[in-house]
Structures are given as structure tokens and as C-alpha cells.
Amino acid sequence: MKRPQRKSYLFDNPRNVKILLRSFFLSLILLLLLEPFIHKHPHFSWEKWPEFYAVFGFVACVALVLAAKYILRPIVKRPEDYYDR
């Protein structure tokens, strides 16, 4: 539904969204590039693997969302008035 635009806000402008996303992706690359240069204090051997945390964070979250969407939700989803019936 389109309504007459009264006031334009920060993210109404697609250019701002693009800037935000670009700077986000840039910071990701920066983080990846920084890692080899830091002094590490690993407790486990896998912490020494390059970019372990970045990969783990990404994979864990994708797995989390997929498991929640395709496994948990079909099992537990019920209509909103389920308990009132």
C-alpha cells in the first residue's frame, strides 16, 4: 500500500542501506586480514587454525537457523489459540 511520503528516514533511502552493507562487508574483510597479525593465546589446537572463529560463527549460525526452521518449527508450531481451545 503506497501512501504519500511525508518524511523520509535514514534507511528509506536505498543508498544508505547500501553504504551500511558495504561498510559491514568491508569490516569483515578487515577482520579476516587482521587475524594473522595478532598474538594468539590458544587453549585448544583448533584455535590456531586460520580464521577459525569467523568460520565457526558463520557455520554455527547457518546451522542454528536451518535446524530451527526445518526441524524444530514443524514439530512445535501450533495455531495461536492452541492453548485456549
Binding site: L21, L31, H43, A54, G57, A60, L64, L72, Y82, Y83
Partner: protein, 591 residues
Amino acid sequence: MIDRIPPGFIFILGALLVPLLKGNFKKALLLIIPIVGMINLINLPEGNHTLLDFLYYKLILIRVDRLSLLFGYIFHIISFIGFLYALHLDDDLQHVAALVYAGSALGVVFAGDFFTFFIFWEMLTVSSIFLIWARRTKRSQGAGFRYLLVHVAGGLCLFAGIILRLYETGSIEFGYIGLNGLSSYLIFFGFGLNCAWPLLHPWLVDAYPEATITGTIFMSAFTTKCAVYALARAFPGTHALIWIGAFMTAFPIFYAVIENDLRRVLSYSLINQVGFMVCGIGIGTHLSLNGAVSHAFNDILFKALLFMAMGAVMFRTGRINATALGGLYKTMPLTCIFCMVGAASISAFPLFSGFVSKSMVMEAAAEQHMPIIWFILLFASAGVFHHAGIKIPYFAFFSHDSGLRPREAPLNMLLAMGVTAFLCIFIGSYPWPLYRLLPYQDVAYNPYSGSHVIWQTQLLFFSALAFTLLILSGIYPPEQRYVNLDIDWIYRKGVPLLLKVINISLGGIQSFCHKLFVDGIAKNVAKMSIDGTYRLSLVFLEPLWFIRGIRGKDLKKKKREVHRMFQTGTVPLGLKAVIATIFLIVLLLLI
């Protein structure tokens, strides 16, 4: 002897004054109580105070040590923030309940013996339930009753454990217990229920989202943290807690991803955060215990901040479902910023409070060589950012434009959120004052090592990347107007089903017995004793009537009269005597 004022009493006495005051005086009172309490607390020297004789036992109303003090400080701080947030509210019920609730929480934390502890522990439940019922909806009423029943069951368990322990040891002192024998298991379970352990957790996600906007702030702070305190006091280093805690951190995040009610999302993430504390208590090293209690301290602040931001949204729009919100950053920018500070803190971004406490538990797990636990905690750290860190602000303030243009939150709410946000950033950037308050000063911990900062930022940013890509590709599960079943299904659907089964099975037996005994045997015996004697008497009466010449209609009428006499038990004495005689003769002949 009452040599010092117990911290909780100030709140409970203050609660009595609330109904007597009006307008600005009442508002002033609500803010002054936590300040007076704090002054009293600061002046309490370490050790046991206010010992009272009760039966053969000594009650210790105030036990001040580093552990109880830390919880005492944060409970005062959050009470002040909570009342500031609730200042616009003109509902004595909620103010009184919140004050008694805060007082009970302080009572629990400073109790040095089990009797005092148990009284305040039960008062926690009784006072907090009014914060649920004060919403005054049918759903909140039901949730409140379930909350009450579950906590009463847990309280009874705890009470049984305390009595058994008293019987075993002869002492009511509340200190280290450790798992050894039935009494300790009962106490352990009682604490665990308030701590929202897995399978015991549904009361939390059921009740908190149904509580009032301001009530939830207090609820998120006190009940579970009192349980964390009790576990830290009585069961540090108990191995079962490591796995319980790790499971607590992991399973709620799956629910949080698909939950639509944003305050329920926060309730799941509350369990997730308490999981870190429980795990830290279970590991039991000085570092992990410091981590557990400092994380409790920080969690109270950032969880309250998130609940306050969602409360402000709910206050202005009347909605809390993700499906009904979106685009609110346009007109509620300050609330949005405060919410993001809370989100960054719970996600443990560097410079925010979660970063300086959660990592202690992780570090302790690594130091103790627990790779599986460490992986679960790391997964939960990424997951919490995903659901509480991004999902909450994104769906409420950004996402699709819901068309809602509410006003910014009221000033008192903004101030409360502002103070909390400041504390979150201050503790995150400069954690040393908090570290100095921690129970064990023999371990030094520096969260700001280069690798920790970079690794944590990588973990979070790439979790954010996963969220961004999933949203952009449309794979991220869209919010839907559905409820999600949890363990409480067992009693919410199971108990009515049980009643139905009982009704059918036992009801069937009952109706069968009714047919057999009441309608069958009893009725026939009654009929026989009436009709049998009636017929017997006719043997004697009919010849008599025949002789008297009673026939036809008159005979029938006479018979009816006699029948009625037998039915109503108004048979003339002579007739009875005759029947008895005949009966005796028959009996005699038979023998």
C-alpha cells in the same frame, strides 16, 4: 538482637508506605527506598548481624561477605532503575508487589540460615505473581496460576530438603552443601527450578511475557539470579551443573529463532545467559565462579535494558509480536539506540558488559580442558548474538515498515534505559571496579587481549553475516503468528487430558457401580421388602375382606391403600404384628 537493619526490610517497610502517599510523594518514595537501602548496605560491615533466637535455632538475618554484597549491590541498582522505569505508573498493586519482591530477593541473598532463606525464597514467588496478575488479562491470570503451582512444587521440594538436612546435621546454617544424599538433591532440585533448568524452565517463558511491562523488568532480575546466588553459595564445583548449564545455553536459542513474541525471545535468551552462570558455578574454579557472578551482575543490567526497550515499544504501540512491528527507529530513535546497546552487551561485543564477564566462564572451561563444553558455549555465544543481538532490534526497529509512528518513550523510561545503557558500556569498557567486587581476588583476568578482542569480533561479525545473507536470500524463517510448544505442553494439555481420562475411566466404573448397587441390588431389596410383605399381608387380608363382602372397585381401592401404607411405612401396628406372626410360623415350619 537487631543490631543492623536487614537490607530487605527497608524495601518491605517501604512497600507499606506506598498506599499512604499520593502523586509526586509516592514517586519520590519509590526512588528514595533503593537509595536508602544502598546507603544502609554500604555501611554494613562483613560478618553476621541481626541474630534472632527462634525455637532452638539462631537465625542470621544478615550475612555479609563478598558474594552476598555483590548481589546486594546489583539488586539495589536494578531496583532503582526498575522504579525509575515504572514511575509513570499509577498502580499501587504493582509498586507494592515490586518492593516486596525486591525486599525478598535481598532477604534471600543476605540470609545466613535456611529458615530465613526459605521464608524469603517463598516470598519471592508470592510477591512476583502479582506482577503477572497485575496485567489483568485472562492469559496472565492463567500464566500466573501455572507459575504459582510450579513454584509451590519447587518450594515444597526445597523445604523437604531443608528439613531432612536439619534432621541429618542438626544445623540450619546455609553454606556449602554439595551433592551427597537425598536432602542435598532435594535442595538442588528446588534451586534448579527457580534457576529455570532445562525441562524445569517453561514457567519462565510462560509467565514473563505475560507479566506487566514494568513487572517483567523486576522479574528478569530477581528470581533466576537468586537461584544463581544460592547455587554459587551451596553447590560450587558440582559437576552436574556444568552439563546442565551448557544445555541451558544451547537449547533456548533454537526456540528464540522461531519465536514471534519478542519478550518471549528475551525470556529464552534469559535462560541461555543463566546457563553460562550455572556452567561457571559447575566448573567451580575461582575464575569460573568470578565469571558466573559477574555475568549475573551484567546480565541483570543488559537483560533489563532489553526488556525495558521492548516494554517501551509495547507501551507505545500495544504490540510485541515481531509480525506486528518494524520500522520503529523512525520515531523511537533513542529507545532503538538503547536497545542496540543492550543487544551489543548481551552478545558480548568488546567494550560492552557481556564481553568482560562471559569470557571468564569460557576461559575457565578451556583451562579445565573441557572441549565439548567449550564448543557448546561458543555455539551459544554465536547463537545469542543471532537471536537477542540482531533479531530483537532488527524486527522491532527495522525490518519491514509496519506503518506505526509511535511517539518516543516517556522521559522516565528513557532515563532508566539511559542509566542502564551507560552502566553496560562503562562496565564493558572499564571493568576493574566490578572486578574488585568479585568474590575471589586471587585470580587476575584481563579480557582485553588482542586475540580475545579479534576472535570475539570475528565470531560475532560472521554470525551477523550469516543473518544478513539468510535474510537477503529469504531463507531466514519469516516470523509467523503461531505459538511454539514447549515442555509446559505436558501440563497445559496433559492435565486436562488426564482429567478427561480419569473422567472416562473412573466415571465409567462409577456409573457401573451405580447401576449395579444403587439401581440394582439396593432397589430390588427395597422393592422386595415392601412388595413382599405387602403380598404376604394380602394372604391374610384378602380372606378377611372377602368375608366382609368387599369386592370389585372397593377391593382394588383397599389394596391400593394397603400398598401405599407399606410404601410410606405407615402400616398399622396390628397388621405388622400379624405379618410378624405369619413370618415366625413360616420360619418355624421351615425349620
